[in-house]
Symmetry: C2
Subunit: 342 residues, 2 copies
Amino acid sequence: MSSIKKKVTIKQIAEIAGVSFSTVAKALNDNKLVNIETRKRNIKIAEELGYYPNLLAASLRKKSTKTIGVILNDLTNPYYYETIQEIEYFLSSRGYTMILVDSNLNLDTENKNIITMLSKGVDGIIISLVSSESKNINIIIENKLKTVFIDVIPDIENICYVYVKHKLASFIATEYLIDNGHKNILLLSGPIQLTASNEFIKGHSKALRKHGIKINKSLILNNDISIDSTSKKLIDLYKDGSKIIRCTAILCISDLVAMGAYEAMKELGFSIPEDYSVVGYDNIFSSAYLGPPLTTIHSPKKRVGKISVNLLINQIENIESSERKKDLEPRLVERGSVRKIN
Amino acid sequence: MSSIKKKVTIKQIAEIAGVSFSTVAKALNDNKLVNIETRKRNIKIAEELGYYPNLLAASLRKKSTKTIGVILNDLTNPYYYETIQEIEYFLSSRGYTMILVDSNLNLDTENKNIITMLSKGVDGIIISLVSSESKNINIIIENKLKTVFIDVIPDIENICYVYVKHKLASFIATEYLIDNGHKNILLLSGPIQLTASNEFIKGHSKALRKHGIKINKSLILNNDISIDSTSKKLIDLYKDGSKIIRCTAILCISDLVAMGAYEAMKELGFSIPEDYSVVGYDNIFSSAYLGPPLTTIHSPKKRVGKISVNLLINQIENIESSERKKDLEPRLVERGSVRKIN
DNA sequence: TTGTAAGCGTTATCAA
DNA sequence: TTGATAACGCTTACAA
């Protein structure tokens, strides 16, 4: 009320209410042991004074902050945006709040981020690791930090994770291309040190094998997952007269990469899908609106968010649930970037 | 080291080091009053034990959490993604960390979010309000919460904000369309209660007036800022035989709205820019890759993030800086969605 | 039903 | 140069 008011605490409320501050504390927590009248009166006074609890103090005492950390390996990737939205949504509906940090694909930053979460006392984290084999995993385990891994999953017993089957994604995509008559498929995978890159290649190879198509290693490329680097790569390849251009389709490990392919084709004067068919992976927000709309493998990004929150909170609140691992399946979304040939 | 270790505190370090815990505390904070040797030794022990400070305790005592709250009115809007990235980046480079919450365009949720930030003791907030006239602003002011307003700015003395001139945006866009021969421009603005919607209309009208074009109120529409609702609206309008379709250009308050226009045109069998020219506003990530690439007014989303962090931290750390208000200018980005007519 | 008091893990003041 | 101690604002046994 007064304009020079200091932050109000339970002690001040206690003074006004004429009870001890511990009674106020109980009252504000709606403790049934406190007389209903006292409770009401204290709550009323608290409201009038504009009281809000100091959660730092409470957390210090209770050893629970009701906040969880979200550590992403690359916030720049639009892939994560939908997941973040869902995480925020479900977290808040469960009474939690989110600290969001970016590791910038850097192991040291990731390490720093994990320590920060520990220091700030989060109840748990949801993390997409920079690498599935980093030492940073040890910090998590040694400190018994409750965590759900998403996107990149370390190969460790008994961890809790939500995964999307990358191998299946490229398998589906490749079969789809084959069904549409494509035999010369250029595979644009990600950085070679990324587990996901290799899995994507495996699924692709598996589909080729299944259909009796010879695997041509020169048609499998590892490159950064970004529009610009993909576009540049493709243009360079073309200018160097690579035979890669004899392919009829391009399968990309990410819609971002597919967008890079779009850019390159535009630059080179080819059109999609007339000259080259393109299939992406992720189905990010914008893919449906590209010219032409991108045929892609949908990754259930929102479900990843929702489920990871559930797994994590169940862990934290010791809610009965044997589930600790979720492998989600991607699915084909047919749009306009693939042409049937024969 | 031991597998059943409890969280290590300065007391345990003190015991091992054979000094008092307060000496350890000073040592770990690199206090020069502590003997250099003691300092080194304590730090070494801390490292060996895998110590990390309990920031809850420190914050409670120091009254600073080194975390700032980011409260967005609609996390679902891709517009915010780049801003979030920048905020995270600059915050972390200044040693701060971010709590991110979504108000879902709901005043009660916004209120709850602000209280949460207060309770969690954030050092300040960056907020895009649900409404520029909400009572929630009072909570912020009464509690002297350091804040930077972005995107929607309340009309109040002496606040700190980063703004993008919406009026200028639509002015630029309209002039550009006029320069390209368009006189019948359909303006797709946002919800009528949004200040931004009105400013967008004002800038548009100003440009029309400047060029002696009569303002036709029936060509100004208020509608939700979303792809689907825009698309639906336009299709309905067309089917109802509205004369709106006699326009030659559509100016949209957001790229999202422009995307809705794209969808509608596709559905209706019109093509852009041949049949209708379209101009957007925001220049979100995907706009450059639409078919055709969207001509739009670029909003400096990243700069909003960067500057808001600077203004906020300067406030918090009492760094000399008279700046409290920043009005950023949008600029035209010509791409392929506008046709020159005569 | 209410109150006392200890404790959460730090920081910071003052004394030794 | 180091140590004792109070304090930050709350929760929670336990006592009254």
